[in-house]
């Protein structure tokens, strides 16, 4: 059975032709949460940019829902259900909270009732956003912006959700809330690819995980296996021997 998302030998580079990520092989199946771990500069965000079409593949193939999307434009990937929550939340700062959420449903714009229903669902998931619906998104707190970013992505009815460092720049309490939402989405069966520096949090919710270092995958396995592996413990969990 083919995977929902398959990356085969994917390499990508910025302006200089030196690849930032090399020979990435990765699969994601229905109902699965796969975490990609790695430190700063390991190529995590580059991987996501390549996945969403903001960077070209130098080599390799990206297949999604049975179609080859290696050369697709970003908006085409969104139309096919591959939805990214970008790092740093990327609010449309001057637009209201509700307009941000509505634009999340841009690909379904011809189905007004679907948009209205999606909006109601997001407000149910994040009641705080209903209170702030007419405020400019740029004036919200980091945690509230994270809600907008997640809600905006859900408005698109993702087939696969790509999360880029959801813990980035957030207070610990807000990070916990965010991961509670991620866990809930996983339990509802949403396939998620989670890019995260906070390895402990990520391994907590993930089924499987990969470790990226200097643009290559250096370890992979079930979340439980990786939590026990000495390499991951030393590099990313900040502990030498004691079990979690």
């Amino acid at each position: 059975m083919p995977h929902l998302l398959t990356l085969t030998n994917v390499s990508a580079a910025y302006a200089s032709a030196v690849p930032v990520i090399r020979d990435i092989n990765l699969t994601l199946d229905a109902g699965e949460l796969v975490a990609v771990l790695g430190g700063n500069g390991a190529g995590k965000s580059t991987l996501l940019r390549t996945l969403s079409g903001l960077l070209p593949c130098l080599t390799g193939r990206v297949e999604f829902a049975g179609a080859d999307i290696t050369r697709s434009a970003p908006h085409q990937r969104v139309e096919s259900g591959l939805i990214q929550v970008p790092e740093g939340r990327q609010m449309l700062a001057g637009l209201s909270v509700e307009e941000n959420l509505l634009l999340g449903g841009y690909v379904h714009r011809r189905h007004a009732e679907q948009i209205a229903q999606g909006l109601a669902e997001v407000y149910e998931l994040f009641p705080r956003l209903l209170e702030r619906r007419s405020q400019a998104a740029g004036l919200l707190s980091g945690g509230e912006q994270q809600m907008v970013a997640l809600g905006r992505a859900l408005m698109a009815k993702p087939k696969v959700l790509l999360l880029d460092e959801p813990s980035f720049g957030l207070a610990p309490l807000v990070v916990a809330d965010t991961f509670a939402v991620i866990r809930r989405l996983r339990e509802q069966g949403m396939p998620i690819l989670l890019i995260e520096q906070n390895a402990r949090k990520a391994l907590d919710v993930a089924d499987r995980a990969l470790v990226l270092r200097a643009g290559q995958i250096v370890a992979s396995g079930s979340a439980a296996e990786l939590s026990r592996s000495d390499e991951v413990k030393q590099s990313y969990l900040g502990q030498a021997t004691s079990p979690i």
Partner: protein
């Protein structure tokens, strides 16, 4: 008193034309971050196509306008295609190159207009010839149409931007094009639509003003300058900025015909520029924008 009213009205209707060209600048700039200098050239081409079809070939005015607007819109979309020919998500637009390309287009349009219509000034047919007498002031009917068109187009665009998906997409591109594309917005198409729409509005401005100021092949540069002035004076608000900027510009230009002994002329050129310098020094964000946006 009649004289005052007459001058004010002339100023407002003239200013409306500047506003329309300025709105073109602002629509394109918000959607693509490109300063499209060819904005005045659409008014040139649109105006000439209109007056040729209507005067020489005897087409009904509405049909001639429709054809001129459509041609200008195509020209606008073409401009976008040329400017973003090599643009990809990972290879962003070079703004220097884009500006120079649109400047080259200004010259191309000017040259084309010279080859086709020569160096004479041409006068376009008025939608409704003649004047009306309002409280003793003589008002040209055409200038009423100019002002009405300005207000209707401004209101329409404001509605488009706040209440339609295209408008929301444009504002998303204005805020953050990368995020817009991650939300599924085809940013290049939105840019092309903005170029086309701006060109169509510019062409309409050229047609409306052609019976009053007359057109020659160099008028594109004039429109461009006045449009940029309107845009900079008002500030970076999609519609309201250039609208208010344009109206003020028109009032200022005509305002001192009220002073005894002045005959416009050189002052009409100098004063708007001086006003722009003052605004740029004391209120660089424009008259309407309250704080500088990050």
């Amino acid at each position: 008193m009649e004289h005052l009213f007459q001058v004010l009205f002339t100023g407002l209707s003239q200013g409306g034309i500047y506003a329309l060209v300025g709105i073109g600048f602002s629509l394109v700039n918000m959607s693509t971050r490109v300063l499209n200098l060819a904005q005045g050239s659409y008014a040139l081409i649109g105006g000439f196509v209109f007056l040729t079809l209507a005067s020489r070939f005897g087409l009904p005015a509405w049909l001639a306008m429709l054809i001129g607007v459509a041609l200008a819109a195509i020209l606008g979309v073409l401009t976008e295609r040329i400017v973003t020919l090599r643009v990809r998500p990972w290879r962003p637009i070079s703004h220097d190159m884009a500006i120079l390309t649109t400047l080259a287009l200004v010259v191309v349009c000017e040259g084309t207009a010279f080859l086709i219509w020569g160096s004479d000034t041409h006068r376009g047919p008025a939608l409704q010839p003649g004047v009306v007498n309002v409280f003793g002031a003589i008002i040209i009917r055409q200038s009423i149409w100019m002002l009405v068109a300005t207000l209707v187009i401004s209101l329409g665009l404001q509605f488009l931007l706040t209440h339609t998906w295209l408008g929301r997409a444009m504002r998303a591109c204005a805020q953050n094009p990368l995020t817009a594309s991650l939300l599924g917005v085809n940013t290049r198409r939105v840019g092309a639509i903005a170029f086309g729409l701006s060109a169509a509005i510019g062409a309409l401005a050229g047609m409306l003003v052609s019976p009053i100021t007359w057109l020659d092949y160099q008028i594109g540069g004039e429109f461009m300058l006045k449009g940029i002035l309107a845009y900079l004076l008002g500030g970076e608000m999609a519609v309201a900025g250039p609208l208010v900027g344009g109206l003020i510009l028109g009032l200022v230009e005509n305002g001192f015909l009220l002073l005894p002994g002045t005959v416009g002329g050189l002052l009409k050129q100098v004063v708007p520029m001086a006003l722009l310098i003052l605004v740029l020094v004391w209120r660089p964000q424009g008259l309407l924008v309250t704080r500088r946006q990050a």
